[in-house]
Amino acid sequence: MDVIWDSRDVILKSFWLTVQLLVISGVASMVVGTFLVTARVSPIPVVRGVGVTYVSIFRNIPLLMVFVLVVEGAPRIGLMADVPFLLKGCIALTIYTSAFVCEALRAGVNSVSLGQAEAARSIGLTFRQSMGQVILPQATRAALPPLTSVFIALAKNTSVAAGFGLVEATARFKSVKKFVPGEADTLVLFAVIALGYIIIVEVMSFGSNRLERRWRLAR
């Protein structure tokens, strides 16, 4: 127990790294995911094809392989050789997560009923107006629950960085465990770090629930 209590500083610090990974790649995935979803509904077939291909590649490849490609593969062709580990981790997480963000947003757009678009057209709104004032506001609200799932998954996925030079919370479990004597203490250490993740996840889903209640659509 003493070892774990003495390591509270490094454990907290490692969770700070986890939160950094989560926030940076979360924001970046939102941006890239929005571009992707725009590509996927675009009227240009080539652009649509790019969106579809991207999503089906990165939804079906394990995150670990994305990390391998970014951290071990890219430097072999002189890309990202001097980039710090934190940034590499964020890039890998963003590449992977934005495919799921794209799908969540697309589900949101699809959930707006067709009648809304027809009504917007029939009162003479242009494409831009009907998109900006009728469809997208509702789509964003409808996309909130799937987006929350994506970001909660991202919070847990930051743990994969443990295998690639970043000592975030999961990697810290491994390094502190070395100094923990017995099985009972390992269990405590595991519970402490698990609790950290649970807090992060619960805060996120609590926030999303509040927003969801405030944003609830009249259907």
């Binding site: 240009i44 080539v46 072999r76 770090i193």
Partner: protein, 282 residues
Amino acid sequence: MNNVLFDAPGPKARLRQRIYTVIGALVIVGFLAWLVLRMQDYGQLDYEQYWEVFVTPTYVDIIVQGLRDTLLMAVSSIIAALAVGVVFGVGKLSEHAWIRWPCWAVVEFFRAIPVLLLMLFIYFTYGIGDGFGSYWSVVIALTLYNGAVLAEVFRAGLLAVPNGQSEAGYAIGLGKTQVTMIVLLPQAVKIMLPAIISQMVVALKDTSLGYVITAPGLTDAYRLIKIEFTNQLPAAIVIGAIYIVVNLILTWIATMVQKRIVGEKKQLEVPAVGGPGSGTAV
């Protein structure tokens, strides 16, 4: 949806679209060409040094063996997870609070923590040394995580069966256990099938995490090959492509099952911490 949002394109718009098509295609081709040229510059296209290994029988065997281990780990953990899922999914619907609450806690716990943390904990506490080794550490970790997710799938599946079904069961004098086992579960399984197959994609992707504890599988094949040939990029591309193909096949099977067996019904949606189906989790 698109055609509702804007008019059918006139001659001007069609010309514009055609121009954008060409520009888009050029950008894509340019990007791919840049990548290939870059690989060429850094000598990554050197066939004998970097790529020949993927047609060398010994190493093809290693990759095939890795694929087999990966599939085996995924299948066995999903089968075990189904058992865990039934127990806890039904448990969460129990009338007795002392069954319902522990089941709820277990399910929430294993859904909220990263699989990798669980895997490392199991491996370094029970797997290492005289323990059961890295292979079973992966399988056990995946069983617990996917079991928790599938418990939610089962719960949602049981609740999705129309009320009249269980009412009819009670009306002819069945007990609650009988109604669940004879009436609800068989019908729920039908609705759940696509979600279960999608969960296989998640499990298959998660087996790759065994890399961190040197468990067998495709990622271990990657490790062996890259150590010997220092061909990180080509090896990652090849192994990554194998994962994608296998998962696309699984997704295709899930869609077929949805069409053939489940019918027009909406796919089961599970409000998940960490996300259901279609590979939201790692």
